[in-house]
Protein backbone atom coordinates (compact mmCIF):
# COMPACT_ATOMS: atom_id res chain seq x y z
CA UNK A 1 0.00 0.00 0.00
CA UNK A 2 1.44 3.44 -0.90
CA UNK A 3 2.35 5.67 1.99
CA UNK A 4 0.34 8.80 2.78
CA UNK A 5 3.72 10.48 3.19
CA UNK A 6 5.60 10.07 -0.09
CA UNK A 7 9.34 9.76 0.36
CA UNK A 8 9.08 10.01 4.14
CA UNK A 9 12.42 10.40 5.85
CA UNK A 10 13.84 7.03 6.85
CA UNK A 11 14.46 6.79 10.59
CA UNK A 12 16.86 4.29 12.16
CA UNK A 13 17.73 3.03 15.64
CA UNK A 14 21.37 3.59 16.54
CA UNK A 15 21.51 3.20 20.32
CA UNK A 16 19.84 1.12 23.03
CA UNK A 17 19.72 1.36 26.82
CA UNK A 18 17.67 -0.25 29.56
CA UNK A 19 17.36 -0.93 33.23
CA UNK A 20 14.74 -3.61 33.72
CA UNK A 21 13.58 -6.32 36.11
CA UNK A 22 15.79 -8.81 34.28
CA UNK A 23 18.94 -6.74 33.75
CA UNK A 24 20.73 -3.51 34.56
CA UNK A 25 21.51 -2.75 30.91
CA UNK A 26 20.28 -3.59 27.42
CA UNK A 27 22.66 -6.50 26.82
CA UNK A 28 21.94 -8.20 30.15
CA UNK A 29 18.22 -7.63 29.67
CA UNK A 30 18.30 -9.19 26.20
CA UNK A 31 20.28 -12.24 27.37
CA UNK A 32 17.85 -12.75 30.26
CA UNK A 33 14.85 -12.49 27.93
CA UNK A 34 16.33 -15.09 25.58
CA UNK A 35 17.00 -17.36 28.56
CA UNK A 36 13.38 -17.07 29.74
CA UNK A 37 14.30 -15.46 33.06
CA UNK A 38 11.53 -14.07 35.26
CA UNK A 39 12.12 -10.79 37.10
CA UNK A 40 9.25 -11.39 39.52
CA UNK A 41 9.63 -11.46 43.30
CA UNK A 42 7.51 -11.56 46.41
CA UNK A 43 7.36 -8.18 48.17
CA UNK A 44 8.57 -8.76 51.71
CA UNK A 45 8.22 -5.10 52.70
CA UNK A 46 6.01 -4.40 55.70
CA UNK A 47 3.86 -2.06 53.59
CA UNK A 48 2.93 -4.93 51.31
CA UNK A 49 1.55 -7.17 54.05
CA UNK A 50 -2.11 -6.23 53.61
CA UNK A 51 -2.13 -5.83 49.84
CA UNK A 52 -4.17 -8.30 47.77
CA UNK A 53 -1.25 -8.59 45.31
CA UNK A 54 2.13 -8.81 47.07
CA UNK A 55 4.35 -9.56 44.08
CA UNK A 56 6.14 -7.32 41.59
CA UNK A 57 9.13 -7.14 39.26
CA UNK A 58 11.64 -4.66 40.64
CA UNK A 59 14.68 -3.55 38.66
CA UNK A 60 17.57 -6.03 38.75
CA UNK A 61 20.11 -3.31 39.55
CA UNK A 62 19.24 -0.43 41.91
CA UNK A 63 19.94 2.93 40.20
CA UNK A 64 21.71 4.13 43.35
CA UNK A 65 24.45 1.60 42.54
CA UNK A 66 25.01 3.23 39.16
CA UNK A 67 24.28 6.95 39.50
CA UNK A 68 26.18 9.61 41.42
CA UNK A 69 24.58 9.84 44.90
CA UNK A 70 23.80 13.56 44.83
CA UNK A 71 22.38 13.37 41.30
CA UNK A 72 20.23 10.40 42.30
CA UNK A 73 18.74 12.09 45.37
CA UNK A 74 17.47 14.94 43.20
CA UNK A 75 15.53 12.54 40.94
CA UNK A 76 12.36 10.55 41.44
CA UNK A 77 12.95 6.83 41.00
CA UNK A 78 11.37 7.07 37.53
CA UNK A 79 13.87 9.80 36.65
CA UNK A 80 16.74 7.66 37.95
CA UNK A 81 15.71 4.76 35.70
CA UNK A 82 15.35 7.04 32.68
CA UNK A 83 18.76 8.59 33.21
CA UNK A 84 20.46 5.19 33.58
CA UNK A 85 18.85 3.88 30.38
CA UNK A 86 19.41 7.11 28.43
CA UNK A 87 23.09 7.41 29.31
CA UNK A 88 23.63 3.81 28.17
CA UNK A 89 21.78 4.40 24.89
CA UNK A 90 23.57 7.70 24.32
CA UNK A 91 26.94 6.08 24.81
CA UNK A 92 25.92 3.06 22.70
CA UNK A 93 24.98 5.35 19.79
CA UNK A 94 28.45 6.89 19.75
CA UNK A 95 26.91 10.35 20.14
CA UNK A 96 28.30 10.78 23.65
CA UNK A 97 31.60 11.51 21.91
CA UNK A 98 30.01 14.25 19.79
CA UNK A 99 28.19 14.30 16.47
CA UNK A 100 24.79 15.65 17.49
CA UNK A 101 23.95 19.34 17.05
CA UNK A 102 22.15 20.28 20.30
CA UNK A 103 19.62 22.40 18.40
CA UNK A 104 18.76 19.37 16.23
CA UNK A 105 18.58 16.96 19.19
CA UNK A 106 15.24 16.17 20.85
CA UNK A 107 13.92 14.02 23.69
CA UNK A 108 10.61 12.16 24.05
CA UNK A 109 10.59 10.13 27.26
CA UNK A 110 7.21 8.95 28.49
CA UNK A 111 5.83 7.98 31.85
CA UNK A 112 2.44 6.52 32.64
CA UNK A 113 2.09 7.80 36.20
CA UNK A 114 5.02 10.19 36.79
CA UNK A 115 6.74 10.75 40.13
CA UNK A 116 4.16 8.99 42.24
CA UNK A 117 6.54 7.77 44.96
CA UNK A 118 7.99 11.27 45.41
CA UNK A 119 4.47 12.68 45.67
CA UNK A 120 3.31 10.13 48.22
CA UNK A 121 6.51 10.15 50.29
CA UNK A 122 6.33 13.93 50.57
CA UNK A 123 2.67 13.72 51.55
CA UNK A 124 3.72 11.37 54.35
CA UNK A 125 6.26 13.99 55.51
CA UNK A 126 3.64 16.72 55.33
CA UNK A 127 1.30 14.74 57.56
CA UNK A 128 3.97 13.59 59.99
CA UNK A 129 6.21 16.65 60.29
CA UNK A 130 4.40 19.57 58.65
CA UNK A 131 4.90 21.66 55.52
CA UNK A 132 8.46 22.74 56.41
CA UNK A 133 9.68 19.19 55.77
CA UNK A 134 8.21 18.92 52.26
CA UNK A 135 11.22 18.84 49.94
CA UNK A 136 11.88 21.95 47.85
CA UNK A 137 12.80 19.47 45.12
CA UNK A 138 9.43 17.70 45.23
CA UNK A 139 7.91 19.51 42.22
CA UNK A 140 10.89 19.14 39.84
CA UNK A 141 11.07 15.50 40.93
CA UNK A 142 7.40 14.52 40.69
CA UNK A 143 6.35 16.36 37.52
CA UNK A 144 5.75 13.75 34.80
CA UNK A 145 8.13 15.54 32.41
CA UNK A 146 10.96 15.34 34.94
CA UNK A 147 12.62 12.20 33.48
CA UNK A 148 12.52 13.68 29.95
CA UNK A 149 13.81 17.03 31.18
CA UNK A 150 16.67 15.46 33.12
CA UNK A 151 17.64 13.29 30.16
CA UNK A 152 17.51 16.43 28.01
CA UNK A 153 19.89 18.16 30.42
CA UNK A 154 22.22 15.17 30.44
CA UNK A 155 22.57 15.02 26.64
CA UNK A 156 22.16 18.76 25.98
CA UNK A 157 18.99 18.50 23.88
CA UNK A 158 17.60 21.81 22.62
CA UNK A 159 15.20 20.81 19.82
CA UNK A 160 12.32 20.13 22.20
CA UNK A 161 11.82 17.81 25.16
CA UNK A 162 8.50 15.97 25.38
CA UNK A 163 6.57 13.60 27.63
CA UNK A 164 3.67 11.78 25.99
CA UNK A 165 1.26 10.39 28.58
CA UNK A 166 -1.14 7.65 27.49
CA UNK A 167 -0.98 5.14 30.35
CA UNK A 168 0.48 1.83 29.18
CA UNK A 169 0.81 3.06 25.57
CA UNK A 170 3.06 5.96 26.63
CA UNK A 171 6.40 4.38 25.75
CA UNK A 172 5.32 3.60 22.21
CA UNK A 173 3.75 7.03 21.86
CA UNK A 174 7.12 8.58 22.75
CA UNK A 175 8.74 6.61 19.94
CA UNK A 176 5.99 7.74 17.55
CA UNK A 177 6.56 11.34 18.63
CA UNK A 178 10.28 10.99 17.98
CA UNK A 179 9.63 9.66 14.47
CA UNK A 180 7.36 12.64 13.80
CA UNK A 181 9.96 15.12 15.05
CA UNK A 182 12.49 13.74 12.58
CA UNK A 183 10.02 13.46 9.67
CA UNK A 184 8.72 16.98 10.24
CA UNK A 185 12.28 18.26 10.13
CA UNK A 186 12.32 19.41 13.76
CA UNK A 187 15.24 17.20 14.79
CA UNK A 188 17.89 14.90 13.37
CA UNK A 189 18.28 12.77 16.49
CA UNK A 190 15.73 12.03 19.23
CA UNK A 191 16.25 10.20 22.52
CA UNK A 192 13.01 8.25 22.91
CA UNK A 193 11.71 5.87 25.54
CA UNK A 194 9.68 5.37 28.66
CA UNK A 195 10.12 4.98 32.38
CA UNK A 196 7.99 3.88 35.32
CA UNK A 197 8.46 3.49 39.06
CA UNK A 198 5.11 2.75 40.67
CA UNK A 199 5.83 -0.15 43.02
CA UNK A 200 4.26 1.53 46.04
CA UNK A 201 1.26 0.43 48.13
CA UNK A 202 -1.14 3.05 46.76
CA UNK A 203 -0.90 2.28 43.03
CA UNK A 204 -0.65 -1.42 43.84
CA UNK A 205 -3.82 -1.31 45.94
CA UNK A 206 -5.57 0.69 43.23
CA UNK A 207 -4.59 -1.69 40.43
CA UNK A 208 -5.57 -4.67 42.58
CA UNK A 209 -8.94 -3.11 43.38
CA UNK A 210 -9.52 -2.74 39.63
CA UNK A 211 -9.01 -6.54 39.48
CA UNK A 212 -6.06 -5.86 37.17
CA UNK A 213 -3.23 -7.58 39.11
CA UNK A 214 -2.34 -11.24 39.40
CA UNK A 215 -2.78 -12.53 42.95
CA UNK A 216 -0.50 -15.53 42.51
CA UNK A 217 1.33 -14.40 45.66
CA UNK A 218 2.83 -17.80 46.45
CA UNK A 219 4.41 -18.27 43.05
CA UNK A 220 5.52 -14.87 41.71
CA UNK A 221 7.57 -16.21 38.79
CA UNK A 222 4.46 -17.92 37.43
CA UNK A 223 2.20 -14.89 37.88
CA UNK A 224 2.72 -13.28 34.47
CA UNK A 225 1.40 -15.87 32.03
CA UNK A 226 0.02 -14.24 28.88
CA UNK A 227 -2.41 -16.44 26.88
CA UNK A 228 -2.28 -19.25 29.46
CA UNK A 229 -5.70 -20.51 30.58
CA UNK A 230 -4.82 -19.75 34.21
CA UNK A 231 -3.76 -16.10 33.72
CA UNK A 232 -5.35 -13.84 36.34
CA UNK A 233 -3.97 -10.35 35.79
CA UNK A 234 -0.71 -8.54 35.24
CA UNK A 235 2.46 -8.40 37.30
CA UNK A 236 3.59 -4.83 38.02
CA UNK A 237 7.13 -4.14 36.82
CA UNK A 238 9.38 -1.09 36.92
CA UNK A 239 12.31 0.27 34.93
CA UNK A 240 13.10 2.20 31.78
CA UNK A 241 14.22 1.68 28.21
CA UNK A 242 15.59 4.24 25.78
CA UNK A 243 16.33 4.16 22.05
CA UNK A 244 18.37 6.66 20.08
CA UNK A 245 16.61 7.26 16.77
CA UNK A 246 17.88 9.46 13.97
CA UNK A 247 17.37 10.15 10.31
CA UNK A 248 19.07 7.51 8.17
CA UNK A 249 20.95 10.30 6.43
CA UNK A 250 22.34 11.60 9.74
CA UNK A 251 23.29 8.09 10.86
CA UNK A 252 25.01 7.33 7.58
CA UNK A 253 26.93 10.60 7.54
CA UNK A 254 28.52 9.83 10.88
CA UNK A 255 29.04 6.12 10.15
CA UNK A 256 26.74 4.97 12.95
CA UNK A 257 25.90 1.31 13.57
CA UNK A 258 22.22 0.74 12.76
CA UNK A 259 20.22 -1.82 14.76
CA UNK A 260 17.03 -1.56 12.70
CA UNK A 261 14.80 0.90 10.94
CA UNK A 262 11.85 2.30 12.87
CA UNK A 263 9.52 2.43 9.92
CA UNK A 264 6.37 4.03 11.25
CA UNK A 265 3.65 4.21 13.88
CA UNK A 266 -0.09 3.76 14.11
CA UNK A 267 -1.97 5.65 16.83
CA UNK A 268 -5.69 5.25 17.44
CA UNK A 269 -8.21 5.66 20.25
CA UNK A 270 -11.01 3.23 21.09
CA UNK A 271 -13.53 5.83 22.27
CA UNK A 272 -15.21 2.93 24.08
CA UNK A 273 -14.46 2.98 27.83
CA UNK A 274 -11.96 4.58 30.22
CA UNK A 275 -10.53 1.24 31.41
CA UNK A 276 -11.92 -1.61 29.29
CA UNK A 277 -10.49 -2.16 25.81
CA UNK A 278 -12.88 -2.39 22.89
CA UNK A 279 -13.95 -6.07 23.15
CA UNK A 280 -13.58 -6.58 19.41
CA UNK A 281 -10.14 -4.97 19.43
CA UNK A 282 -11.18 -2.51 16.72
CA UNK A 283 -8.92 0.31 17.92
CA UNK A 284 -5.96 -2.05 18.22
CA UNK A 285 -6.63 -3.42 14.73
CA UNK A 286 -6.68 0.07 13.24
CA UNK A 287 -3.44 0.98 15.06
CA UNK A 288 -1.61 -1.97 13.52
CA UNK A 289 -3.08 -1.29 10.06
CA UNK A 290 -2.06 2.35 10.22
CA UNK A 291 1.46 1.41 11.34
CA UNK A 292 1.74 -0.84 8.27
CA UNK A 293 0.38 1.89 5.98
CA UNK A 294 2.69 4.55 7.36
CA UNK A 295 5.62 2.16 6.98
CA UNK A 296 4.78 0.99 3.44
CA UNK A 297 4.61 -2.58 4.73
CA UNK A 298 2.26 -5.38 3.74
CA UNK A 299 0.97 -8.03 6.19
CA UNK A 300 3.29 -10.63 4.60
CA UNK A 301 6.30 -8.45 5.57
CA UNK A 302 5.57 -8.89 9.29
CA UNK A 303 7.39 -11.92 10.73
CA UNK A 304 7.26 -11.07 14.41
CA UNK A 305 5.00 -9.24 16.86
CA UNK A 306 5.90 -8.31 20.42
CA UNK A 307 2.36 -8.23 21.77
CA UNK A 308 0.98 -5.99 24.49
CA UNK A 309 -0.44 -9.18 26.14
CA UNK A 310 -0.30 -8.32 29.83
CA UNK A 311 -1.72 -11.61 31.18
CA UNK A 312 -5.25 -10.35 31.73
CA UNK A 313 -8.19 -12.62 30.86
CA UNK A 314 -9.85 -10.34 28.26
CA UNK A 315 -7.00 -8.27 26.82
CA UNK A 316 -4.75 -11.10 25.67
CA UNK A 317 -7.44 -12.73 23.56
CA UNK A 318 -8.81 -9.48 22.13
CA UNK A 319 -5.30 -8.59 20.93
CA UNK A 320 -4.96 -11.90 19.08
CA UNK A 321 -8.19 -11.20 17.26
CA UNK A 322 -6.94 -7.71 16.43
CA UNK A 323 -3.65 -9.10 15.07
CA UNK A 324 -5.48 -11.56 12.83
CA UNK A 325 -7.80 -8.85 11.54
CA UNK A 326 -5.02 -6.29 11.03
CA UNK A 327 -2.97 -8.76 8.98
CA UNK A 328 -6.01 -9.89 6.99
CA UNK A 329 -5.56 -13.44 8.24
CA UNK A 330 -1.98 -13.67 6.94
CA UNK A 331 -0.54 -14.79 10.28
CA UNK A 332 0.94 -18.24 9.56
CA UNK A 333 4.48 -16.88 9.27
CA UNK A 334 4.22 -14.50 12.27
CA UNK A 335 5.95 -15.45 15.54
CA UNK A 336 4.23 -13.68 18.44
CA UNK A 337 5.63 -13.26 21.94
CA UNK A 338 4.99 -11.40 25.18
CA UNK A 339 8.16 -10.45 27.01
CA UNK A 340 5.90 -9.25 29.84
CA UNK A 341 5.82 -12.91 30.88
CA UNK A 342 9.35 -12.22 32.19
CA UNK A 343 9.52 -8.48 32.91
CA UNK A 344 6.01 -7.92 34.19
CA UNK A 345 4.13 -4.86 32.97
CA UNK A 346 6.21 -1.69 33.06
CA UNK A 347 3.20 0.56 32.27
CA UNK A 348 4.58 3.73 30.66
CA UNK A 349 7.93 2.03 30.03
CA UNK A 350 6.43 -1.13 28.51
CA UNK A 351 6.33 0.12 24.93
CA UNK A 352 9.92 1.27 25.10
CA UNK A 353 11.28 -1.94 26.64
CA UNK A 354 9.32 -4.09 24.21
CA UNK A 355 10.42 -1.96 21.25
CA UNK A 356 13.99 -2.53 22.39
CA UNK A 357 13.28 -6.29 22.44
CA UNK A 358 11.68 -6.08 18.98
CA UNK A 359 14.69 -4.23 17.56
CA UNK A 360 17.07 -6.83 19.00
CA UNK A 361 14.88 -9.66 17.73
CA UNK A 362 15.19 -8.24 14.19
CA UNK A 363 18.92 -7.67 14.57
CA UNK A 364 19.76 -11.11 15.98
CA UNK A 365 16.89 -12.93 14.19
CA UNK A 366 15.75 -14.51 17.44
CA UNK A 367 12.41 -14.11 19.24
CA UNK A 368 12.46 -14.39 23.04
CA UNK A 369 10.03 -16.91 24.54
CA UNK A 370 6.74 -16.33 26.32
CA UNK A 371 7.26 -18.17 29.61
CA UNK A 372 4.58 -19.82 31.75
CA UNK A 373 2.49 -20.78 28.75
CA UNK A 374 1.58 -24.20 30.15
CA UNK A 375 -1.89 -24.49 28.62
CA UNK A 376 -2.71 -22.06 25.85
CA UNK A 377 -6.14 -20.46 25.80
CA UNK A 378 -8.08 -22.27 23.04
CA UNK A 379 -9.25 -18.88 21.71
CA UNK A 380 -5.65 -18.08 20.71
CA UNK A 381 -5.06 -19.03 17.07
CA UNK A 382 -1.63 -17.43 16.64
CA UNK A 383 1.87 -18.94 16.70
CA UNK A 384 3.12 -17.98 20.17
CA UNK A 385 6.84 -18.54 20.89
CA UNK A 386 7.06 -20.90 23.87
CA UNK A 387 10.83 -21.07 23.52
CA UNK A 388 13.43 -19.07 21.56
CA UNK A 389 12.46 -18.96 17.90
CA UNK A 390 14.53 -17.94 14.94
CA UNK A 391 13.48 -15.42 12.30
CA UNK A 392 14.35 -15.75 8.60
CA UNK A 393 17.17 -13.88 6.89
CA UNK A 394 16.46 -11.12 4.41
CA UNK A 395 14.35 -7.97 4.65
CA UNK A 396 11.75 -8.60 7.36
CA UNK A 397 9.60 -6.42 9.61
CA UNK A 398 8.03 -6.61 13.05
CA UNK A 399 5.41 -4.82 15.14
CA UNK A 400 5.34 -3.81 18.77
CA UNK A 401 1.92 -3.18 20.30
CA UNK A 402 1.04 -1.10 23.35
CA UNK A 403 -2.45 -0.31 24.60
CA UNK A 404 -3.38 1.86 27.57
CA UNK A 405 -6.21 2.74 29.92
CA UNK A 406 -8.11 5.54 28.25
CA UNK A 407 -8.40 3.54 25.05
CA UNK A 408 -4.97 4.45 23.63
CA UNK A 409 -3.50 2.11 21.02
CA UNK A 410 -0.02 2.56 19.58
CA UNK A 411 1.71 0.11 17.23
CA UNK A 412 5.26 0.70 16.06
CA UNK A 413 6.63 -0.99 12.94
CA UNK A 414 10.31 -1.89 12.67
CA UNK A 415 12.20 -3.15 9.65
CA UNK A 416 15.45 -5.12 9.70
CA UNK A 417 18.54 -3.09 8.84
Amino acid sequence: MPSALPAATRVVVTGLGATSPVGGDATTTWSALLAGTSGAHRLDDEWATDLPARIAARVAVEPAEVLDRVKARRLDRSGQFALVAALEAWSDSGLADGGADPERLGVAIASGIGGVTTLLNNYDKLLQKGPRLVSPLAIPMLMPNSPAANVGLAVGAKAGVHTPVSACASGNEAIAHGIDMIRLGRADVVVVGGTEAAIHPLPMAAFANMQALSRRNDDPEKASRPWDVERDGFLLGEGAAVLIIESAEHAEARGATVYAEVAGAGITADSHDIAQPDPAGLGATRAMKRALEESNLAPRDIFHINAHATSTPQGDVAECLAITNALGGETDHVVVTSTKSMTGHLLGAAGALESLATVLALKHRIVPPTINLDAIDPAVKLDIAREQRSLPDGDIAALNNSFGFGGHNVAIAFRSA
Binding site: R69, V70, R132, P136, L137, P140
Partner: protein, 82 residues
Amino acid sequence: MASTEEIRSGLADIVNDVAGIPAEDVQLDKSFTDDLDVDSLSMVEVVVAAEEHFGVKIPDDDVKNLKTVGDAVAYIENAQNA
Protein backbone atom coordinates in the same frame (compact mmCIF):
# COMPACT_ATOMS: atom_id res chain seq x y z
CA MET B 1 25.80 23.93 73.80
CA ALA B 2 27.83 22.88 70.82
CA SER B 3 31.17 24.52 70.12
CA THR B 4 31.79 26.53 66.94
CA GLU B 5 33.80 23.63 65.52
CA GLU B 6 31.08 21.11 66.40
CA ILE B 7 28.51 23.24 64.59
CA ARG B 8 30.77 23.70 61.56
CA SER B 9 31.42 20.00 61.43
CA GLY B 10 27.72 19.08 61.77
CA LEU B 11 26.84 21.60 59.07
CA ALA B 12 29.59 20.24 56.84
CA ASP B 13 28.09 16.75 57.07
CA ILE B 14 24.68 18.14 56.09
CA VAL B 15 26.12 20.05 53.10
CA ASN B 16 27.93 16.90 52.05
CA ASP B 17 24.75 14.85 52.28
CA VAL B 18 22.61 17.36 50.37
CA ALA B 19 25.01 18.70 47.78
CA GLY B 20 27.85 16.19 47.69
CA ILE B 21 30.48 18.80 48.64
CA PRO B 22 33.42 17.17 50.51
CA ALA B 23 32.90 17.94 54.20
CA GLU B 24 36.49 19.20 54.58
CA ASP B 25 35.77 21.95 52.02
CA VAL B 26 32.97 23.37 54.16
CA GLN B 27 35.05 25.96 56.07
CA LEU B 28 33.91 29.16 57.82
CA ASP B 29 35.18 31.53 55.11
CA LYS B 30 33.46 29.71 52.23
CA SER B 31 30.46 31.20 50.41
CA PHE B 32 27.63 28.71 49.92
CA THR B 33 26.87 29.88 46.38
CA ASP B 34 30.22 31.15 45.08
CA ASP B 35 32.62 28.63 46.62
CA LEU B 36 30.52 25.54 47.35
CA ASP B 37 28.01 25.64 44.45
CA VAL B 38 25.07 25.14 46.79
CA ASP B 39 22.06 26.29 44.74
CA SER B 40 18.96 27.90 46.23
CA LEU B 41 16.92 24.69 46.41
CA SER B 42 19.77 22.81 48.05
CA MET B 43 20.18 25.71 50.51
CA VAL B 44 16.56 25.22 51.60
CA GLU B 45 17.32 21.55 52.21
CA VAL B 46 20.48 22.41 54.16
CA VAL B 47 18.55 24.88 56.33
CA VAL B 48 15.74 22.43 57.09
CA ALA B 49 18.21 19.67 57.95
CA ALA B 50 20.21 22.10 60.14
CA GLU B 51 17.05 23.17 61.99
CA GLU B 52 16.33 19.54 62.82
CA HIS B 53 19.94 18.66 63.69
CA PHE B 54 20.68 21.67 65.87
CA GLY B 55 17.17 22.20 67.30
CA VAL B 56 16.88 25.79 66.09
CA LYS B 57 14.55 27.80 63.83
CA ILE B 58 15.98 29.66 60.83
CA PRO B 59 13.18 31.75 59.27
CA ASP B 60 13.25 32.17 55.46
CA ASP B 61 13.85 35.93 55.87
CA ASP B 62 17.10 35.21 57.72
CA VAL B 63 18.33 32.55 55.28
CA LYS B 64 19.20 35.14 52.63
CA ASN B 65 21.67 36.73 55.05
CA LEU B 66 23.59 33.48 55.47
CA LYS B 67 26.18 34.01 52.72
CA THR B 68 29.05 32.03 54.19
CA VAL B 69 29.44 28.92 56.29
CA GLY B 70 30.66 31.25 59.08
CA ASP B 71 27.41 33.25 58.88
CA ALA B 72 25.37 30.07 59.30
CA VAL B 73 27.53 28.74 62.15
CA ALA B 74 27.26 32.08 64.01
CA TYR B 75 23.49 32.16 63.45
CA ILE B 76 23.06 28.63 64.81
CA GLU B 77 25.34 29.39 67.78
CA ASN B 78 23.30 32.51 68.65
CA ALA B 79 20.02 30.69 68.21
CA GLN B 80 21.14 27.89 70.52
CA ASN B 81 22.25 30.38 73.17
CA ALA B 82 19.09 32.48 72.89
